[in-house]
Amino acid sequence: MVAAPGLLNGSELTKAQELVYELKVGQVMTPEVVCVSPEQTMGELELILRDGGFAGAPVVKDGHLVGIVSLQDLILSLEQGAVDDPVGNWMSVDLLTVREGDSVIEAVKAFSQRPVGRIPVVDVRGSLVGILTGGDITRGLVRALDVGYRQGEISQYRASHIFQDISSDDTSLTLRYRIPARDFARSGEASSKLKRALQRLGGRPEIVRRLAVAAYEAEMNLVIHTDDGGELLVDMRPDRVRLVVTDQGPGIEDVSAALEPGFSTAPDWIRDLGFGAGMGLQNIRRCADEFEIESRPGVGTRLDIVVRMAQEERLGRPGQ
C-alpha cells in the first residue's frame, strides 16, 4: 500500500489524534458567518442560502445567538408553502454551541452526539464569533499536519546545508560522545545518535552504515574493556569523517595480536551478549579508509580512523 507521506502511517495517525486535542476551535472555524434575523422570511432565507451556497445559518437577534436554521428546515417550510413565515418560527432553538477556546475534540464529541451539520462558535460572553462544520475540522487538521510535515522538511534542509550555509575557509563539525565503562544498558546510544546525525547531514546510506558500524564496535570496546570509559570524537567535513576514540586505560598489551581475527580478552559474560569474539577491530578496519591504533599498557588507547567520501557522496552536497 502506498501511503500519502505523513498522513497514513501509524505515527502520523497518532499525530492527528494529538492535534485534535491541541487545536482550538477558533483556529479551524469559519469566522465570517452569514447570519439571519428571526424576523426575516423563509423566502429571504432561501435566497441567502442559495446565493452563498450555505446549508444553514445562525439566527441572531440584537447581537445574541437565538437559534440556527438549516436547509432541511427551509425545505419543510417550502413544502408547506410557508415562504412568508418568519425564520423565528422554523429555526431550532435547542442550541448546541462550542467556545472558540475549546479544543477540537470537544466539537468532535458534539458532532458525534447530535446529527447536526454545523455548530455555532461563541466567545466567553456568548456572542457568535464563527461557525464550525465537519469540513472545517478536516481542513484544519490537514493544514496543521502539513505545516508539521513541512517543518520537519525544513529542519532536514537546514541540517544538510550546514556546510554551504556557514562560510569559512575550512568548516568542520565536531561531535563528542562520552562513553561510560560497563554501562551495557546504554551502550550503543552514542553510535545511534551519530548515525542519525550523519543521516541528517545527508550522508549516503553506505557511508553512514560504515561509520555507524565502526563507531559501534569502538563504543562497545570502550564499554567492555576500559577502566573509566572513554570518548568518541567525530570530526566531520564534507569530504571525510574522522573518528577518534580515546581512553585512559588499561591499554592493549600487544596491538598486532589484538588485530588478529579471533583474538579476544573478553570475559565469558561479554561473549554471552554476542560480543568479545575478537572481531571488533577487524570490523572497524574493514569500514575505514584510514586506520591507526596506538596503545600503551597503563596509559590508554587511541584509535583514529577516516572514512572518505567521493564528490557525489559529500556531506551537505547541493541538490539534497
Binding site: 544498558a185 550503543g188 560480543f275 569474539a277 574493514r286
Partner: protein
Amino acid sequence: MPMSLAEVGCRSPRRQAFSWVEISSGSNRLGRERDAWGEPLNLHDIVRVAGATVLTPNADLDADVKCGFCADLMSDVLSLATPGSLLLTGLIQPQVVRTADMADIVSVLFVRGKNPQPETVALALELGIPLLWAKETMFTVCGRLYSFGLNGVERIR
C-alpha cells in the same frame, strides 16, 4: 518429514503452481520462485511463512526483506549482514536491536521461543525496528524461509 507447500504457506494458487514446477524440475529453489514471481518478500511473508508473532505493535510489515542472516554473534552481523537483511538470532538483549540499527537490518526474528527483555522491545519501538518471534529452532525457521525463497547474503565481503 518433508514440508509440503501448504505448510510453508504459499499465498496464492499461482505461486503454489509455480513452486511445484520448480520443485518437480529438481532445480535449486534458492530464490527462483521469488525472482520469477517478480515480487520481493516483505515482512508479511516472513511472519506467515515462519509462523512468527509480531512483538512490536503497529510495526510496518510492508518493508521488503532482501535476504536472511543468522547469528548469535553481533560482530558477525556487523561485518557480514547486508542492508535490508532479516536477522534471525537466539540473543535477546537490547544490543541485538542496537546492532540491527547500525547494520540497517530490516527486522529481528527471535527463534527458539526466547522472549526478549522488555528493554529490547522498548528500544526496537524507539528505533522503529519490527521484532518477530518464533518458537521453533533456528534451523527450522531458516529452512522454512529458505524454501520459500529467502536467500542468504549474496557474497562474503
